[in-house]
Point group: C2
Chain length 706, copies 2
C-alpha cells in the first residue's frame, strides 16, 4: 500500500501552470491555499511571472525549494508527462493532475494518458488524476484543487472522508452533507485514475484514525477482489464504508463507460461484494446523512430488536411498519418492563412495543416519558430504541435527562424529530452535539438504523469467524485442461465435475454403431439420449435430445434421430458420440459459475428456469466458499421453502446441495486460470438423504491459456 500521508497533508505545494488570474484553474489553488489557513508553503511555478499574489514564482519545478510534497498541475495536457519527469528529478513524490484532455476525450487522449503513466512510473511519482478536481484536506486547511465546492466557507472538517470518481458530483455531496451538520477531514477526486485509484484511497483512508466513516462514490472498479479485501478490513476495524455505486442499469452502465472509459462488472456482483464486507450501500444524499448521523452516535446495536416509543400513536404505527419492512424486529418487552410501564404511563397508553405514551406524555413535562425510555432501554429483550422527540418548552430539560439515561447504557437511541427543524432547533443541536442522532423523516430514521444494524451484525460475524480457517470440502485436483479450448461437451464437462465429487447422472458415451449393436440396455429404463458434439452447444434447440425412452428399440431409434438432427443442424458436424443417460428427477435447481473479469470466480444459485429468469430469484457468492456460505445462499432465495420443506412436501437434501455448491466454487477457484464458465443445469435435488445429481452440465474454457 503506498504511503499517502504527505499527499493528503503536504508541507509544500508547487502550482505548476500557476496563473495570476485567481479565478482560473491555475489561479484558484493559489487563492485557496492562501486564504483558508493552509500552514504549508505555496510555490507558484510559471516562467512568465516573478511573483503571484505576493508569492515568489518559480520558473520550473527544479527551482522549487524543498520540502515540497505535491505538485499540482494545471498545464494543458500535452505538457503534463514532461513535468512529471521533472517532478521525479526534483524529488516531488506526488502529483495532482487537474488537466483534462486525457482518456476522457478519445484515442489521442488515451495515448497521452499512457505517456503520463509511463512518465510517472519512470519518475517514481504517484499521481492523482488527470481530469480531477483535486484533494481537500479540511482538517489541515489544505484545499488543493479547483472548482465551486472548494471555494465554500461552509465546509467543515470532521470524521468522514470522501473519495469520488466524479469530482463535480462527489464534492457537491460533501457540500450538502456539511450543510446538514457532517464534517469531512478529506475529500479526494480521483479523475481518470491513471495511477492511484478509488480503491487505493479507500484502503488508505480506512487506516487513518482521524477517519471514522469512509464514503465512496463509484462508477466502476477493475479489481473486485481487492474491493472485497478492503471490505473485510473495514469489518476488522469496525469502520464502515458508505458506498454509492452508480452505472447499475444497462443505460446507466453505458453512460458510465462513455464517461470514464471504464468497463465494469454486473451490479449484482458489486452488491454481493458490498453485502459481504464492511460496506453500507447508499443510494442518495439522505442515506449518507442519516446513516452517518446514526453511526456517529458511536454505539453499535448488539442485535436487530428495536423498541419504538412515541407520544402519538400514528407515528408509532408508521415506525412499526417501517421496522418490519426493513428487517428489524419489534419484540414484546419483558413482563417486568410492561408492568413498570403500566404504572408509569396513563391507563389507555400502549405499554407494549410499539409503546405509545400518548399526548398525555405532555401533561407532566415528559417526566413519565423519560422514565419509560429508561425502563425500555434497559429491557433485555431490546437492542436499540427509536423514540419521537417531544416539543415545546419542556423539551430542553427532557433532553438533558435523556443524556443521563443514555450515559448508563451501551444501547443506541435514534430520535425522530416531530416538527420543523427550526422548531426547538437549539434542542436538536444540543442533542446532536451530545451524540444523539435526530432525524426528521421517520422512514429514513428506520432505514438508517437498519443499515447500521446490518453493519454491526457483519462486524460481529467477522470477529466470530476470524480465527476459523476456510474449510475445503474437496482436495484440489489437477485437471488436464491444457490442450482443451472453448466449450467442452456435456460428457467431458461432467467427468471433470465428478472428479470434484459433484454427483452426475449415470451415463455412457457410445458410438452410434455401438448403440445400434446393443443386446440389452446398459442402465435401467427410462433413459435419455443426447448428441455429444462441440458443434452443438444447445442440444435441445437443435432437436438432438430424446427423453423418457422406455425400451431398447426406442433407445436405438433415439440414437439414430439425435445423430440425424445434429447433421441437419450443421452439415459436417463433428460427432463425438451418443450420450446414453439414466433419467434423473427431483427439484430442478441451477448452479452457475462465472470467472468474472473484475471479480474473478463467482457462483450463482437459483431454482430452475422460470424462477431464475423471470422471478430473478438468484443469489451470488465469490468462489471459493465453504458449506456454511452455501447454506446461506440456499436460505436466502425466496424459493427456499421448496428445498427445506413446504406445505407437506418433504424436506430435500439441502446438505448435499450445499456440499455441491461449495465443490463447484472450489472447482472454479482452483482452475480459474483456465475456466471461463460452468453451467450445471439442471441439478436435481432429491429428498433428504438421497443427494443431488447433475443431469446436464457445460464447462467453457478461456479462449487462450493465460
Amino acid at each position: 500500500m503506498p504511503e499517502l500521508s504527505r499527499f493528503l497533508n503536504p508541507r509544500g505545494v508547487a502550482i505548476v501552470g500557476a496563473s495570476n488570474d485567481l479565478t482560473r484553474i491555475g489561479g484558484q489553488p493559489i487563492r485557496l491555499l492562501s486564504e483558508f489557513g493552509y500552514p504549508g508553503k505555496v510555490y507558484p511555478v510559471n516562467p512568465k511571472y516573478q511573483e503571484i499574489k505576493g508569492l515568489p514564482c518559480y520558473p520550473d519545478v527544479a527551482a522549487v525549494p524543498q520540502p515540497c510534497d505535491v505538485a499540482l498541475i494545471a498545464l494543458s495536457a500535452p505538457h503534463v508527462p514532461g513535468v512529471i519527469e521533472q517532478c521525479g528529478k526534483a524529488g516531488i513524490p506526488y502529483a495532482l493532475v487537474l488537466s483534462a484532455g486525457f482518456s476522457e476525450v478519445g484515442d489521442a487522449g488515451r495515448s497521452l494518458q499512457s505517456q503520463l503513466v509511463a512518465a510517472a512510473h519512470k519518475a517514481g511519482v504517484r499521481l492523482v488524476g488527470p481530469n480531477c478536481l483535486g484533494i481537500m484536506n479540511l482538517k489541515d486547511n489544505a484545499r488543493v484543487g479547483f472548482g465551486g465546492t472548494l471555494q465554500l466557507t461552509t465546509l467543515k472538517p470532521g470524521p468522514l472522508a470522501m473519495v469520488t470518481q466524479s469530482g463535480g458530483f462527489g464534492f457537491g455531496v460533501v457540500a450538502i452533507a456539511c450543510y446538514y451538520g457532517l464534517g469531512f477531514n478529506y475529500a479526494i477526486s480521483t479523475g481518470n485514475e491513471a495511477d492511484l485509484t478509488l480503491l487505493d484511497w479507500l484502503a488508505d483512508l480506512l487506516e487513518r484514525p482521524e477517519v471514522e466513516i469512509v464514503v465512496a462514490f463509484m462508477e466502476g472498479i477493475t479489481d473486485g477482489r481487492r474491493m472485497i479485501e478492503i471490505g473485510e478490513r473495514a469489518l476488522e476495524l469496525g469502520k464502515p464504508i458508505l458506498v454509492w455505486k452508480v452505472g447499475n442499469t444497462a443505460i446507466g452502465r453505458q453512460a458510465a463507460t462513455s464517461h470514464t472509459a471504464r468497463l465494469t462488472a454486473g451490479y449484482e456482483l458489486f452488491r454481493a461484494a458490498f453485502r459481504r464486507g464492511g460496506y453500507i450501500e447508499i443510494r442518495d444524499v439522505d442515506d449518507l446523512i442519516d446513516i452517518s448521523k446514526v453511526l456517529l452516535g458511536r454505539k453499535l446495536p448488539a442485535g436487530n430488536r428495536v423498541a419504538v416509543l412515541t407520544l402519538s400513536g400514528g407515528a408509532g404505527v408508521l415506525l412499526a411498519d417501517r421496522c418490519i419492512e426493513e428487517g428489524l424486529a419489534l419484540p414484546r418487552l419483558t413482563a417486568a418492563t410492561t408492568e413498570k410501564l403500566s404504572n408509569i404511563l396513563v391507563s389507555f397508553a400502549s405499554a407494549d412495543n410499539p409503546i405509545d405514551a400518548t399526548a398525555h406524555g405532555y401533561n407532566d413535562n415528559f417526566a413519565s416519558y423519560s422514565k419509560a425510555i429508561r425502563e425500555v432501554i434497559n429491557d433485555p429483550n431490546i437492542d436499540q430504541l427509536v423514540a419521537r422527540a417531544p416539543r415545546g418548552k419542556a423539551a430542553r430539560p427532557w433532553a438533558e435527562g435523556l443524556l443521563e439515561v443514555l450515559r448508563d447504557t451501551d444501547k443506541p437511541l435514534v430520535l425522530n424529530w416531530p416538527t420543523a427543524p427550526d422548531d426547538n432547533g437549539d434542542v436538536m443541536a444540543y442533542l446532536e452535539q451530545n451524540g444523539v442522532p435526530c432525524i426528521l423523516a421517520p422512514g429514513r430514521s428506520i432505514h438508517a438504523m437498519a443499515a447500521v444494524t446490518e453493519f454491526a451484525r457483519k462486524c460481529r460475524a467477522y470477529t466470530r469467524d476470524a480465527g476459523q480457517a476456510f474449510k475445503r470440502v474437496v482436495e484440489r485436483m489437477d485437471l488436464d485442461l491444457s490442450a482443451a479450448a472453448g466449450t467442452l461437451g456435456e460428457h467431458r464437462s461432467k467427468q471433470l465435475l465428478a472428479r470434484y465429487g459433484i454427483p452426475v447422472v449415470t451415463e455412457r458415451l457410445m458410438t452410434p454403431a455401438d448403440v445400434d449393436a446393443l443386446q440389452s440396455s446398459p442402465f435401467a429404463f427410462p433413459l435419455a439420449v443426447k448428441i455429444e458434439s462441440p458443434d452443438v452447444p444447445h442440444k435441445t434447440d437443435a432437436g438432438a435430445v430424446r427423453l423418457n425412452i422406455a425400451d431398447l428399440a426406442g433407445l436405438k431409434q433415439a440414437a439414430r434421430e439425435v445423430v440425424a438432427a445434429a447433421e441437419r443442424f450443421r452439415p459436417g458436424v463433428r460427432i463425438e458420440g451418443v450420450l446414453v443417460q439414466e433419467m434423473a428427477s427431483g427439484l430442478e435447481v441451477i448452479v452457475g459459475a462465472v470467472n468474472d473479469a473484475f471479480f474473478g470466480p463467482t457462483v450463482a444459485f437459483g431454482l430452475g428456469g422460470v424462477f431464475t429468469e423471470l422471478m430473478k430469484d438468484v443469489t451470488h457468492r465469490f468462489a471459493p466458499f465453504d458449506e456454511a456460505t452455501a447454506r446461506e445462499m440456499i436460505a436466502e432465495i425466496k424459493g427456499a421453502p421448496l428445498l427445506t420443506g413446504y406445505r407437506g412436501r418433504p424436506a430435500l437434501d439441502v446438505e448435499a446441495l450445499a456440499r455441491t455448491l461449495a465443490r463447484v466454487s472450489q472447482f472454479i477457484a482452483d482452475h480459474a486460470d483456465r475456466i471461463a464458465e460452468i453451467d450445471v443445469n439442471p441439478l436435481f435435488v432429491r429428498p433428504a438423504g438421497q443427494g443431488v445429481v447433475a443431469a446436464d452440465a457445460l464447462i467453457v474454457l478461456k479462449s487462450d491459456k493465460q
Copy 2:
C-alpha cells in the same frame, strides 16, 4: 356530501370550556384566534368568567351571539354530548371536539362516544373529533384547535391541504413541509371520527379551487368503495391526493387497531385502490415535499420519456440508473437534435441521452448548456427533462434564460441542485418562485418525477375512457343461493361458475353405488375421483382425491378409497357423492375472489402455488371489471411471459383467461350480498385458441343473508 365551508372558515367560534389560562386546552384557542389575525368573532363560553383576554365570556352556548358557525369543545368528555344538544338548539351547525376520553380509552369511552354520535345526529350538528387537535385554516388565519404546531409562526398558507387521522403526527408534517417551502390552506385533524371522517374531508377538499394538492395521513378507513370513487373524482379534476397510509404490516396494523380502534383491510387492497385512482402513495416526509414541488411546476408530462442533462458525467449515470429503476424511459434523441447538440457542445461531451455537457459547460457561463436544454426540451422524442443546475456567479443569468426556454414549452423540467442549499440559495429561491422545482437529492428528484408521470398517465387514461360504458362479458344471472350457507361443495361451486360462462372440467357427481355399477367409463381416461362433502373442505389433505386413473377397475377402486378416506377423516361425514372428472392440463393459475368487509368484492390473480405463495407474484382488482382490466392484471405479474410465450414455449390462451377473470369479477359483484369467497384453483390455461378450464373450485357463502 355535507357542506363544510363554514366549518373551515367560520364567521364566529364559540370556545366551550374556555379557560383564562391561555396555555391550557381551553385557553390556547382563544390566544390563537386573537393573535394570528382571525377576522371572525371569538366567543369564550364558561359560566365561571365574565371575560377572558378582553373578550366577553358567555355562560352557555345558548347565550352566544349569531352568526356562530363552530363550537370548539374543550370540556371533559362526559359533558360533551349535552353541549352538542345545546349547540343544535342554539343554531351552531358544527362542533369541533378536542376532548379526549372517548373510544380511544376503552369500553366506557366507546359508550360515551355512542351518546355523542346520537346527540349530534338528533341535534343536526356535524362533528369533527373527538380526541383531535382541531382545524387550521391558514388562508383565513383561523387556527381552531390546540397543540404545538398551531403556535408556530412559520406555518404558511398555500395550495396544499392536509387531512390526518393522527393529529400530532400529521400537523408535525405540515410544519416540516412549510419549513421546506410548501404552504397549506387547510389542515384537519379528524381524531376518532365519530361523525366526519377522513374521506368526508378528502371529498370536500378536492372540490375546493384553493386546494391544488390534497394530502392524507391514513391509518385506516372503513368505506373502501368511497375511497375508490374519490380517487376517480381526483382523476376527473386532475388533482392529486398524496396518501400516506400506515398500519400496513401485521405489527403496524395491530398498533393501529389499538390506537384508533379501527379495523382495516389488507394493505394490498389499499395499494390497488391507490393505483386505480388519483392517489399518489407517499412513504415519507420527503416524498410529500418533492412530489408537491414537482406538481407545483404545474406542467404534467405527456409521457414517461425523460432526457437527462448534466455538467458532470457521474450525475448523469446516477440519474439514468434511477430513471430506469423508476420505470421512466430514456429514449434516444432525434438525429436532428443530436446533430445540433454536437455543434453546441464540446467534442467529447455526450450528445445523446443522458446528455453530459461536461464541466466545459462552465467555460462559456452556461450559454451552450442553455442552448442544449432548449434543443432537448423541444425534441419530439422527449416528454420531460431533468437537468443539473449549474453553480457559481453565472448561475443567476442562466436561470433567467432558463425561464425563457420554459415559457415556450408545455414540457416539465425538474432541476437537480448540485450543492448545499445555501450555495446560490437565492438562485434556487428565484427558480422555485417561478415554478421550477429544485430538488437536492438526485434519486428523490427522479422518484418524484416518476410519481407525477404515473399520475399524469392515469389522468389521461381516465379522460380517454370516461365516455366508455363498462363492458359486461356476461349477463347477470339469478343464482338460487337463498337456502345455501357456508362452503359449497366443489361440484355445486363449479355448476354456479359455469352459469357465468366460466369453463369447468367435464365431471359427473355420482353415488358410490352408481360408480360401482358402471359398465364403462362416462368419460375418456385418465380420470380424477374426489369426494363431494360439505364436511371435507380440504379433500387432498384428507386423502379423498385420486388422480390419473387409467381404467374402469381403477375408477371403482378409487371411488371406494375416497369414500373410506372421508369416513376416516370424520366419522359420520355427510357424503353427497363421488365426483368423477376428466383430467385437465395446462399452465396452472389461481383466480381468487374475496368480498372484503371494507372494499367489497375483489379479485386476485397469480400463477399456481409457489408463485403466488412464495414469490408473492399476485395482482388485485376491484370487481366488477372488464376484459381490458383483466388483460392488465395478466400483463403485470412477473410470470406473465409464461402466459404470453417464453423461450420457445407457445403463447397460451390469454384472451380466454382475461374473459374468465372478468366473468369471475362479475359473478362475485352480482352476488356480493351472498358470496364471501371464491377460489378457482387450479385454473388450467391451454395453448392459444384452446381456452381455459377450472379443475377445482370452491365458493364460500356469507354465514347469514345480509
